[in-house]
Each structure stands twice: as structure tokens, then as C-alpha cells.
């Protein structure tokens, strides 16, 4: 059993570290996709950047976004990578992960802290420089992404499996399922539009982009082959029991960590909320997709994750 404050710090360290991985990965994918389609369909490139800003919002209304595509892309790259004032930038997320790690330093191994600290220092150094060009930007972001994954590896390989580790993993898994649901919620309306306004190859590029944005392209191919069927992609991302980025797997992981945190005592309120959600995701099937009920269902998922977070914060952190 650990201090409530330490549990809180580890939980948020897990959440911010996971968030930094999401935004880094999506920036790399979006930048590549937007570049790829630029000559073919400028509007599509614009949508990709607008989606990115909707997934990682900064409180500004969409009308405030730059109108010219080049300006929108540059602003998005800057805001979401190294802007220290953007609440979802890579830099901000890593800073928050590190700030939390510093408050619970005694609960971490040297390997975890040093990896995280080094990873944070890379974008911190960039905040003092201009983004030179896209190749440099991609190189730097790639380095940061590897640093984040290396930190996650250090967590897996060096932290003892105690209550602290459980809270860290709880934060990580809750952020993962939440952020995956947000990505789906933002991207699906256009992708599920009955009459795609774009060429078919581009249409499939976007579905492929969605899978890549959720680190799931190879896993999807492993399950369904190279054929890109939207219903299969949706089924995979929502209900696959084994893919680590599917909502079903994510909710079950959160439930599992909550059960282990509460031990053999009675079912806790957050475990109850997340358990129900995991059960729903286990029993839902293609009917939901056929009926076109994905978007309301995703709203429901996001609401329940929010309730789960509130319940666990109240129960364990006293906040």
C-alpha cells in the first residue's frame, strides 16, 4: 500500500507518458499522410490537420485555426510538438510526466527516471530552437518516440510489481483507451460518410492512416489480411480481444488493474464502472457497426471512462 499522493503522481505520470506517445505517433502519421495527399487533394490534407487539433485540443475554437494549409500545418506541428503552452503538446505531456515522476522519484528506478528525463530533454532543447525543416522535425520526433518507448520498456523491465506499478499502469491503460476512443470519435464521421467525396485509393489511405494512428496496421493485417474493409477495421479497433489498442482490450486492462489495486475486498466503484464497460465491449458485435450506431456508442464509452477516472480519483487519491 502506498501514499495516496504517490499513487496520484504515478497514475498521472502513466497518463501523461501515454499521452505523449499518442501525440508523437499521430503527429508522425498525420504529417506523412498530409504530405502524401497534398498534391492530390489539398482539402483532405487540411482535414487531417484539423482532426489532429480536435483530438488534442487547446481550447481554441476551430474558426481560429489558420486558413491557409501551409500555415495550418506549420502551426499544428509547432503547437503539438514543442509549444510549451499547448496542453496536449509532446513537450507539455512529457514535462507533466516528468514533473509527476520527480514528485514520486523514490518510487521509480534509476532506469525509468533517466530514460524519461533524457526523453524530456530532447523536445525541451527544441523549444529553444526553430523547427528547421520537415526532415529534421521528423528525425527529432522519431527520437522522442523511441525515447518514450524506451521509458515504457524500462517501466516494464525494472519496476517491481507493487501498488505503485499498478497505479502507473492504471493511468497508462486508462489514457490509452480514452485517447483511442477520442481518435475514433473524431475520425469516424468523415470516414463513415455514406458517399465518400474522395477517390477510392485516398479513401483507403485514410483508413490505413487511422490504423497506423492507433499502432494497429500490422495487427489488423495479421487478423484480416491486407484487404481494407471499413467494417473489419471498425470491428478490429472496437472489439478485438487481443489487440492492445482496441477499446475492448483497453477497457478490460483498466478493469484488471482496478481489480488488482482493490485486492480481494468488495468490488470498488471504479472497478464496477469499468467492468460494465468492458462487458459491453465484450458482447457488442458487428450489429452495432451495421446499424450505424458507432458514434453514439463512442460517446457512451468516453462518458464511462470519464466516470471511471472520477471514481478512482475520489476513492484512492482523495481528490
Amino acid at each position: 500500500m502506498i501514499l495516496s499522493r504517490v499513487a496520484d503522481g504515478l497514475y498521472w505520470m502513466g497518463r501523461y507518458l501515454e499521452r505523449s506517445e499518442h501525440v508523437t505517433r499521430l503527429l508522425l502519421v498525420t504529417e506523412e499522410l498530409a504530405t502524401e495527399v497534398l498534391g492530390l487533394d489539398e482539402e483532405l490534407a487540411r482535414v487531417e490537420w484539423s482532426d489532429m487539433r480536435a483530438i488534442f485540443p487547446d481550447g481554441e475554437p476551430p474558426e481560429a485555426q489558420p486558413r491557409r494549409l501551409a500555415a495550418l500545418a506549420s502551426a499544428s506541428v509547432y503547437d503539438l510538438s514543442i509549444n510549451p503552452g499547448h496542453p496536449n503538446s509532446v513537450f507539455f505531456s512529457l514535462k507533466k510526466a516528468r514533473d509527476n515522476a520527480r514528485t514520486v522519484r523514490e518510487a521509480l528506478t534509476t532506469e525509468v527516471f533517466v530514460n524519461l528525463n533524457d526523453t524530456y530533454r530532447e523536445p525541451e532543447g527544441q523549444t529553444r530552437r526553430q523547427i528547421a525543416d520537415h526532415a529534421t522535425f521528423r528525425g527529432a520526433l522519431g527520437t522522442t518516440h523511441r525515447g518514450i518507448l524506451s521509458t515504457v520498456g524500462a517501466i516494464e523491465h525494472t519496476l517491481t510489481r507493487d501498488a505503485g506499478w499498478l497505479f502507473l499502469k492504471l493511468g497508462e491503460s486508462l489514457e490509452r483507451v480514452y485517447r483511442s476512443a477520442v481518435i475514433l470519435r473524431v475520425k469516424l464521421p468523415a470516414l463513415l460518410s455514406p458517399e465518400p467525396k474522395i477517390d477510392l485509393p485516398l479513401f483507403y489511405s485514410r483508413w490505413r492512416g487511422l490504423l497506423r494512428g492507433l499502432s494497429s496496421l500490422e495487427n489488423y493485417r495479421g487478423a484480416f489480411g491486407a484487404r481494407m474493409e471499413p467494417a473489419d477495421v471498425l470491428h478490429f479497433l472496437l472489439f478485438d480481444p487481443h489487440a492492445p489498442r482496441s477499446l475492448r482490450y483497453g477497457a478490460a486492462a483498466v478493469k484488471d488493474y482496478l481489480d488488482r489495486v482493490s485486492g480481494a475486498t468488495e468490488l470498488s466503484q471504479p472497478a464496477r464502472i469499468m467492468g460494465k464497460l468492458a462487458a459491453e465491449l465484450s458482447y457488442e458485435d458487428r450489429d452495432l457497426i451495421r446499424q450505424g450506431a458507432c458514434l453514439p456508442f463512442l460517446d457512451h464509452v468516453l462518458g464511462e471512462i470519464g466516470r471511471g477516472h472520477d471514481a478512482l480519483s475520489t476513492l484512492y487519491f482523495g481528490t
Binding site: 500500500m1 522519484r105 484512492y316 487519491f317
Partner: protein, 478 residues
């Protein structure tokens, strides 16, 4: 490699004829064997290691870059065994006296009755806690951890500059400096019998367990920190980690039924010993500063009842008041019947009329300090201050003379330090750490702080200071 010898003051490495002192001979030979590029490469590695591991301190009052690396100079300071014995014996004598003094002034006040120290001087100090009169800490230990600042006169004599008996910091850098040096310059260690220091956290934990109120029931020890924004937060976290005990903040603790508990995710747990790194005034808003958010309401009552041990004990801060320092030689004679083994710097007290007059007339030759401040804050370096600055400072002194002391400017010793590709003399001091548990132990080493700016006397980390690894050599026949 280029070496610049000191023009004034005691040079730690070279004698007045420019010859290396015998105990530095092997080190100089090794350094001479390096190329400049090699040294610079290793220095870069050293800086990277400090950044990676987050070995930093926090500077107050800066909007950005709150965290700073504590600069480390790789040329170690070497103290021969015989010199260290003098320092160690002197420190044991001094810390024994400080503890006896604290026991006395919070109990019978004999030293005040006997006018060894003027009662008004002690009783007027804000660090003297009337609320704790008659409250004797477990095992009668007030000063569990002390860091005493030592300098060397121009003849090389070791002098005590001040005692820090509240929450002395710096020991984490002592330990990390040793690790860093052994990784980056492993060649240095082959030629010297350097006494180890890495068992400090174990000794500290033993010291804390010694005063636990429930010694037979696996006592729970915690480190109490003001939090991440404190300048010494790295050290608080480091010591908790090294001792394997929880690092707590005030909000993690609560008082119930005259016992202290930690708030945990699944219920409370009683705490027995608190190594607190928070000043007295912030410990308990019900007893001291009412608006403090850092402490624990009701903590002092639990301490009074003997249900928790606090290290250092509340009220111990009065012992490192700069006015009390002036009376230390007399106090050593009074309590121990011995002559002081370590001399100290002559001190003029603002509260004495004659002394104040002298200070006012010789301000240009003296270093004036406020009695309650630390870290080089509130200080006037008379010889380097302008007439206008001295005038303004004197005006402040006149409003509260008792808050000031003055000392002649002592020429700190100088130690060659790697600056801009060559070895230049820089002023240094030394802070050994002393633990008071079942007996008094002095860590064989200490924090050598170095004024990195050329000509500077200020070694404080907050004002441009750095540090060096400090080697105490084992006796030849050991």
C-alpha cells in the same frame, strides 16, 4: 595542461614555492597524462550524466529554468588522514557541545544563569522555541544531522565558519560526486586509499531508528519535504530512496489520537520517526506559523507526548544562530572542560554596544551577516561593497543591531579547478556531515563547495558555486 598558481591565500595543491604538496603528487601525474581533448570529452560525459539523472537544485525567484545542475569540478580535494583526524575530533567535540547546550537551554538554562551566554541573546532569538521549554527529545538527541562549514586560513589552519543544525543540505551531492568521479575519471582512484562514504544512508537510517519511540515494533521512518519546488528537493528524494523509506509532504500526514499517520490508498499507517527537511516555523500551523501549508496540524503535540521523533528536534535551530556561534569556544569549555580543538573566526556581535561601534567603523574590512539567514543571503562583503552599499546596509543594521554579526574577511583557501581548458585557483570551503545516534559519526569527506567565478568568495550553489569530490585518505597503516 596549464596550471595557474594562487597569488594569495592558501593553495590546496601547491606550496608557496609552486611545488605540489606530497598528497597531490600522484593526482597531478595522472592529470598531466591526459590531453586537453580527453579532459573536455570526459567533462561533457560528466555534464550529460548530471542532466540525465536529474541531479539538480532549484533556484528561487527565477521564472524559467528553475532546475539547475549543481556544477561539478572533477579535480578532487584531498585531505590527508592526520588533517582529517583533527577535523573529526574537533567536530565531535563541537556537536557534543551543541547538543548539551540545547538540552540545557530547553531544560535548566544553567549556561544562562551562569552568564556564559547572555540570556537575552538566546531568549530573543526567533529560533528559540519557548513552546518547547521542558520538552526533551527521545534519547536526549537534538542534533541528529549537522553540517559544519569549515574554511582554511592563509596559513592552512582549519577554521569553523558556521554550524548548520537545522536542515543542513548537500550530502546527496557528496555521494553523487563520488559516483560521478569514479565513473568519469576511474584512473584517479588507483593511487589513493580513499575512505568510502556510500554507507551514509544506512548510517542515517540507523541514526533515525535509534530515536524511534517504538523501537521493538519495526518503526516507520519517513522523510518530510516541503515538496518539489524546494531548492533541496532532489536531496530529499535521494535520501528517501537510498534509505528505502517513504518521502512525504505535509498533506500526506495527519494527526489522530496524538499519533501521526500517513494517508495511504488503503487506510492509514502510523509514523514513528520524521526526518524533516522543513524549518521549525512551518512544521505545525497550530503551534508555529499559522498560515503554513507545508506542515502537519497537531504534530508538535504528538512530539510533546513522545509518540513521534523529529530529526532534527524542533528548537535545534537556535544552536546554529550566528550569535551563538560567537560563544562556542566558551560553551565547549563550560560543558566539556576542554579547549576547542578547532579554532573559529573572530566574531563581533551587533547586540554588543562596543562590537556594534567597531563594526560601524570598520565596515569596509568586515563581512557582515544576518544571524538567521543562510545560503549567502542578507550578507555584506564590506571590502567589495561600494560606499553607498555600506551606508545603506549600516542604516538597516541600526534598526535591528541584534540581528547582525560581523567577521573579518578570511581569505578562503584556493583549489585548482578546471576552467576554460586550464586549472585555475578558485576559493573553496568544506561542509562535513555529522550524525548523532548511538554515538557521533563524522562522514569521512564532505561537500567541498567552490566559488567558480574568478575572484569570488561566495561558494553557495544559489550564487554561482559548484562542488568537488572530497577525499579523506585512510591512514597508511590502516
Amino acid at each position: 595542461m596549464q596550471w595557474v598558481n594562487a597569488k594569495s591565500g592558501f593553495d590546496e595543491i601547491f606550496d608557496p614555492h609552486g611545488r605540489p604538496r606530497p598528497h597531490y603528487g600522484p593526482l597531478l601525474s595522472i592529470l598531466e597524462s591526459f590531453t586537453r581533448e580527453d579532459v573536455e570529452r570526459r567533462e561533457r560525459l560528466q555534464k550529460l550524466a548530471l542532466m540525465s539523472q536529474g541531479i539538480t537544485f532549484t533556484v528561487y525567484g527565477e521564472k524559467e529554468g528553475l532546475e539547475r545542475i549543481f556544477p561539478f569540478d572533477f579535480v578532487p580535494r584531498i585531505i590527508p588522514a592526520a588533517e582529517w583526524k583533527t577535523i573529526q575530533d574537533g567536530l565531535v567535540q563541537r556537536i557534543t557541545t551543541l547538543n548539551l547546550f540545547l538540552l540545557d537551554i530547553y531544560q535548566d538554562q544553567k549556561c544562562l544563569t551562569d552568564r556564559i551566554v547572555p540570556p537575552e541573546l538566546i531568549l530573543s532569538r526567533k529560533e528559540y522555541k519557548r513552546e518547547l521549554l521542558g520538552v526533551i527529545p527521545p534519547r536526549k538527541v537534538f542534533t541528529h544531522v549537522v553540517g559544519t562549514d569549515i574554511i582554511r586560513s592563509d596559513t592552512g589552519e582549519y577554521l569553523v565558519l558556521e554550524d548548520n543544525s537545522r536542515c543542513p543540505s548537500g550530502v546527496s551531492y557528496v555521494l553523487e560526486n563520488r559516483t560521478l568521479l569514479s565513473r568519469v575519471f576511474p584512473e584517479f582512484f588507483g593511487s589513493y586509499p580513499v575512505r568510502p562514504i556510500k554507507d551514509y544512508p544506512t548510517l542515517l537510517l540507523d541514526t533515525l531508528l535509534y530515536v524511534a519511540p517504538r523501537p521493538s515494533q519495526s518503526p516507520v521512518v519517513v522523510v518530510l519535504s516541503p515538496g518539489i519546488h524546494n531548492s533541496a528537493y532532489f536531496e530529499h528524494s535521494f535520501l528517501a530512496r537510498e534509505m528505502g523509506v517513504p518521502l512525504v509532504e505535509g498533506r500526506d500526514l495527519l494527526v489522530e489520537g496524538n499519533h501521526v499517520f500517513m494517508r495511504r490508498t488503503h487506510g492509514k499507517r502510523q509514523v514513528d520517526v520524521i526526518y524533516r527537511r522543513i524549518d521549525d516555523d512551518f512544521l505545525d500551523p497550530l503551534t508555529f506559523r499559522r498560515n503554513s501549508m507545508l506542515g502537519v496540524p497537531g504534530l508538535l503535540n504528538v512530539y510533546r507526548e513522545g509518540n513521534v521523533a523529529l530529526a532534527n528536534a524542533p528548537g535545534a535551530g537556535v544552536a546554529d544562530d550566528k550569535s551563538v556561534y560567537a560563544f562556542m569556544p566558551e560553551l565547549i569549555r563550560y560543558y566539556l572542560g576542554e579547549e576547542p580543538l578547532l579554532p573559529q573566526v573572530p566574531t563581533y556581535l551587533g547586540c554588543r554596544k562596543d562590537d556594534f561601534q567597531y563594526i560601524a567603523e570598520h565596515l569596509g574590512e568586515l563581512v557582515v551577516k544576518t544571524t538567521g539567514d543562510a545560503g549567502g543571503y542578507g550578507m555584506l562583503m564590506g571590502p567589495f561593497a561600494s560606499a553607498k552599499e555600506r551606508e545603506a546596509y549600516l542604516a538597516r543594521m541600526k534598526k535591528d543591531p541584534g540581528n547582525y554579526i560581523a567577521q573579518p574577511l578570511v581569505e578562503l583557501s584556493l583549489h585548482p579547478t578546471h576552467v576554460n581548458g586550464r586549472f585555475e585557483p578558485r576559493r573553496v570551503d568544506l561542509r562535513p556531515f555529522i550524525l548523532y545516534g548511538d554515538r557521533i559519526r563524522v562522514l569521512p569527506g564532505g561537500l567541498t563547495r567552490v566559488a567558480l567565478r574568478a575572484g569570488s568568495y561566495v561558494v553557495n550553489s544559489s550564487q554561482g558555486g559548484g562542488s568537488k569530490d572530497t577525499w579523506v585518505l585512510a591512514p597508511r597503516d590502516a
